[in-house]
């Protein structure tokens, strides 16, 4: 076993009123990939901020030893000089600057204040090659996909002669193909002697690349496990994260008994949509599907498969350019050309991006909940604040939204509670059909379970649920049927009984007809079956 390169001892970090870290110990050995995991709020990001100097020396207690020397970083620059570089979840690239300019941003190859372009481009090309990115260094960042942007961030880190690379949820925004590449790169860098710390929610990734994993819970180190040891299973890690054995991650599903005669609550026929800018490209291609009352139907697909695009274009044509297709509700054709029409026909769409599309973060919990159906608490155009508040209080209780009052701005709630507010607002709209797009993205295990319970309850009430998710275990645990999509087309329909991750993945990576273009940088081309992660 290699010697430790980094030791963090008895780290305590408090914010006014909250103890974010109480006695955290972390030992990372030279040349390993060390994963850190824990529920949201466990203190992962805070710990990394302490390490990288975002929280400067003196604002925390405890000591940090890097290469056997004590570290007292006063800012990020100080830690970068020692070779510790952090890549945040939200990428810090300037979209309209070139790759080369981004790589050396703040660290330019310059002589007397003027940039030496030859050195810049030469060095950038070299770094891009090292991270396996085959792009010209003068390409603008905005013109490459998110997966490649992540690689640019790593190239940027390499330009600072990184010894310890910290990645905060590096694959959260990537599709499987890009995730695979990124993880392969981390392993490659490991061969070159670079130590990495990766924070991840995805246990399968941890198992794929990490050598050891440290579990944090409530600001404490719970344990450090050797990932390659036989006893280290996903269940084992989860148990450490949540502090209890979680033999069922999903609520017991009330089995669905389809009424064969009744028409489907939602039926989509031949739905086709073009890309909003690239007008030749079909993003959704002749998709037909049905969801019955009381049924939870999943849609599985890799990023770029067209799932969100399908949902949003059906929901008031909120995405792309409509080309063909009809929507039927309870067997009758309906018009859903605007969001208002779709809502009036009892359709709700819960977005995958709650901060951008789901909530008014500066407004209060109660006003966010009432927004979709203000008319229900208003008379002649005037809102009855009393009724509005009662509605919000009802949801706060029934959905277990953790907020001091319903007058709290949603921006101050945690991700899981924000998601509950988004769900509440759409449940309040009183839909018959709910389209849930990644409803558990970025929220912790406990809140996920609560959301699953809500979804099951909705189905039990006879609502039709269309459940879009990138997490296959979640679809397998919750759905009665699962459709798969790839490159805009429906590629399969699998029943609960026959669905396994392998079956779904095979359908999701099915090569559709040759007429399909490769699509954008993010397009799914892969036909390889199992990824490194599954």
């Amino acid at each position: 076993m290699a010697a430790p390169v980094l030791e963090m001892r008895s780290i305590v970090k408090t914010f006014p009123g909250v103890t974010a870290l109480s006695d955290v110990n972390l030992t990372v050995r030279r040349g390993e990939v060390h994963a850190i995991c824990g529920e949201n709020g466990a203190g992962k990001s805070t710990l990394m901020k302490v390490l990288s100097g975002v929280h400067p020396y003196g604002t925390y207690e405890g000591e940090i030893l890097f290469e056997n020397e004590p570290c007292r970083f006063k800012d990020i620059r100080a830690s970068e000089q020692r070779g510790i570089v952090i890549i945040h979840q939200e990428l810090a690239l300037v979209p309209y600057l070139s790759l080369a300019e981004n790589i050396f941003l703040g660290n330019e190859h310059a002589r007397r204040g003027f940039i030496d372009w030859n050195a810049t481009l030469r060095h950038a090309t070299e770094l891009l090659r090292r991270v396996g990115l085959d792009e010209h260094p003068e390409t603008r960042v905005a013109d490459i996909g998110v997966g490649k942007q992540q690689l640019v961030e790593i190239a940027k880190a390499l330009s600072k002669s990184v010894k310890l690379l910290i990645l905060d949820e590096p694959t959260a925004a990537l599709n499987d193909e890009d995730s695979r590449k990124l993880l392969a790169l981390i392993l490659e860098l490991k061969k070159q002697g670079i130590t990495s710390i990766i924070i991840s929610h995805k246990l399968n990734e941890i198992r794929a690349v990490a050598d050891s994993v440290t579990i944090l819970r409530d600001g404490r180190t719970i344990e450090t496990l050797d990932v390659k040891a036989p006893g280290t299973t996903e269940e084992r890690i989860i148990a450490g994260m949540v502090g209890r054995d979680l033999d069922h991650r999903f609520p017991e599903r009330t089995p669905h008994r389809p009424e064969r005669d009744a028409p489907a609550a939602l039926e989509i026929r031949g739905w086709t949509v073009f890309h909003p800018i690239d007008r030749q490209r079909k993003v959704v291609d002749d998709v037909s599907l049905q969801v019955r009352r009381g049924e939870i139907v999943g849609i599985a697909g890799l990023m770029g498969a067209g799932r969100t695009e399908l949902a949003m274009s059906v929901f008031g044509r909120s995405y792309g350019r409509y080309a063909a297709g009809t929507v039927l509700k309870d067997g009758r054709e309906i018009r859903t050309r605007t969001v208002a029409e779709a809502v009036a026909h009892g359709i709700a769409y819960v977005t995958e991006d709650r901060k951008r599309y789901g909530l008014n973060l500066i407004d209060t919990v109660n006003r966010n909940i009432s927004l979709t159906a203000l008319h229900k608490v208003a008379r002649r155009g005037v809102v009855d604040e009393h009724a509005e508040r009662q509605v919000a209080e009802g949801f706060r209780t029934s959905m277990n939204i953790k907020a001091p009052t319903v007058f709290e701005p949603v921006g101050r709630l945690s991700g899981g509670n924000q998601q509950k507010v988004v769900l509440s607002k759409w449940i309040f709209a009183g839909p018959d059909v709910l389209i849930l797009d990644e409803p558990t993205r970025g929220i912790d295990v406990g809140a996920k379970y609560e959301i699953y319970t809500v979804i099951d309850r909705l189905a039990a009430q006879g609502k039709a649920v269309l459940f879009i998710s990138s997490e296959l275990p979640e679809l397998l645990g919750m759905c009665d049927r699962i459709y798969t999509m790839a490159a805009g087309r429906l590629t399969g329909e699998v029943s609960r009984a026959e669905a396994t991750q392998e079956v779904l993945m095979r359908h999701m990576t099915k090569d559709t007809k040759g007429t399909r273009s490769a699509g954008s940088a993010n397009g799914t081309r892969g036909t390889r079956g199992e990824g490194v992660t599954r």
Binding site: T351, L359, N360, I362, L371, P409, K425
Partner: protein
């Protein structure tokens, strides 16, 4: 006094639920209360401070009955514009055309009543329609054609200014019929026995005081019922006394001169009406929603285009009203009327707590912001400060107000 929860984000509730920290003296709860509601009361206190300062500096001239009356008349049109501007800014837009539009509507009024001898009530109605049409035109281009509001209204600013000069042929046109002049500088008629005060104004003041007290008590009771944090009892009493005193002083001052100006009544109705709309009407909620997060509002089924269109339509009508008031007050339509009014209205909104990114602000805030500027203007005039230095000071006031807001927000960590 605003109790709107949108602008002022209350700090986390203290454990005592604000039932009044007994035996703590009066000062401590007052300071605590202020600290917690800085955003809400900050500008109001600044306004009070400015009034007191100028009252001292001008040896009491600022609050002479005649000057208070003047202050109202001078600032009424900026305040009318500020109401509409606040709504525009909350919706995430800006309107640079209102100054020119005011002048244009004044010119139309002159053309109708002076040149064409049209009866003034008809002309007023027609002028408001012209404002609505101008607002609708700009609103259509912004909401439905998707041209940025900055561009559309910058064009409108040039366009309406040009049309004003064309319509007036570069001349000042007047005077207006007597009835119309009243809009700008008329007072409530006097009734009843001869006291030393203006009776109707006193009556109105009394009604207003009753309404304010009733509203405050009801709000407080409702907040308690919602188990929200309320001001401690003593602080609430202090607030009520301050409110009543403020209304009383203004009433007495106005009543001891010619009574309440007609524009003040118009303004009062507008403030009450629009505050109610912004807080309680579905329309108002939708304005906050599209300003706070447009994509989310769209996906919630808010008809964002229609709301934007209506906001600009409304701004047009209010600009027309302001134009009529200005014209009536000057008793002439001038090609140079309303120059830089848009900037004063925008400044009022920002001093009053609006945010550049939209979604935040109250009508009452805009009024307070407008009054801060108005009192500064008036006070400096009384002190014979030149317009050069007036501009400098007003600029600094705007910076200070918004700077304070930013600092306060950063400090509270939101």
């Amino acid at each position: 006094m605003s109790t709107d929860t949108t602008a002022g984000v209350p700090a986390p509730a203290p454990p005592d639920r604000g039932r009044g920290a007994r035996g703590d003296g009066l000062l401590r709860p007052v300071l605590n209360g202020l600290r917690r509601n800085m955003r809400q009361y900050g500008m109001l206190i600044a306004l009070a401070l400015i009034v007191v300062l100028f009252q001292i500096w001008t040896d009491g001239d600022l609050l002479l009955p005649r000057n208070v009356s003047n202050l109202v008349l001078q600032n009424s049109y900026i305040l009318i514009l500020a109401i509409g501007m606040m709504m525009v800014i909350i919706s995430g837009h800006i309107d640079l055309s209102v100054g020119s539009l005011t002048a244009f509507v004044g010119a139309v009024a002159a053309a109708l009543t002076v040149t064409h001898q049209m009866p003034w009530p008809a002309a007023v109605a027609l002028c408001l329609l012209v404002g609505a049409a101008a607002g609708a035109l700009q609103g259509f281009m912004i909401a439905y054609l998707g041209i940025p509001s900055f561009i559309v209204t910058l064009a409108g600013m040039l366009l309406f200014r040009g049309l004003t000069e064309i319509l007036l042929k570069g001349q000042t046109v007047g005077p207006f019929p007597e009835g119309m002049q009243k809009i700008g500088n008329g007072f409530l008629p006097e009734v009843g026995p001869d006291t030393n005060y203006h009776n109707l104004t006193l009556l109105l003041g009394a009604v207003l005081i009753a309404a304010v007290v009733w509203q405050e008590v009801r709000d407080r009771r409702r907040q308690q019922e919602f188990s929200l944090e309320v001001l401690p009892t003593r602080l609430f009493a202090l607030k009520l006394v301050a409110l009543v005193a403020a209304v009383l002083v203004v009433t007495l001052l106005l009543a001891s001169y010619k009574g309440a100006p007609i524009v003040l009544i118009v303004l009062g109705v507008l403030v009450a009406g629009y505050s109610y709309v912004m807080r309680n009407a579905v329309f108002g909620r939708h304005i906050y929603a599209i300003g706070g997060n447009l994509p989310a509002a769209k996906l919630s089924g808010v008809k964002d285009r229609r709301v934007t269109f209506q906001v600009f339509l409304n701004m047009g009508v209010l600009a027309a009203l302001a134009g009529l008031v200005v014209a009536a007050r000057l008793n002439a339509a001038s090609p140079k009327a309303g120059v830089s009014y848009e900037l004063e209205a925008i400044a009022s909104a920002f001093i009053g707590g609006a945010s550049m990114s939209g979604g935040v602000g109250t009508v009452l805030g805009a009024i307070v912001g407008g009054l801060v500027l108005g009192v500064l203007n008036n006070g400096m005039n009384l002190l014979s400060v030149g317009t050069d230095w007036q501009q400098v000071i007003k600029g600094l006031a705007l910076l200070a107000a918004v700077g304070f807001d930013v600092w306060n927000k950063r400090k509270s960590g939101s």
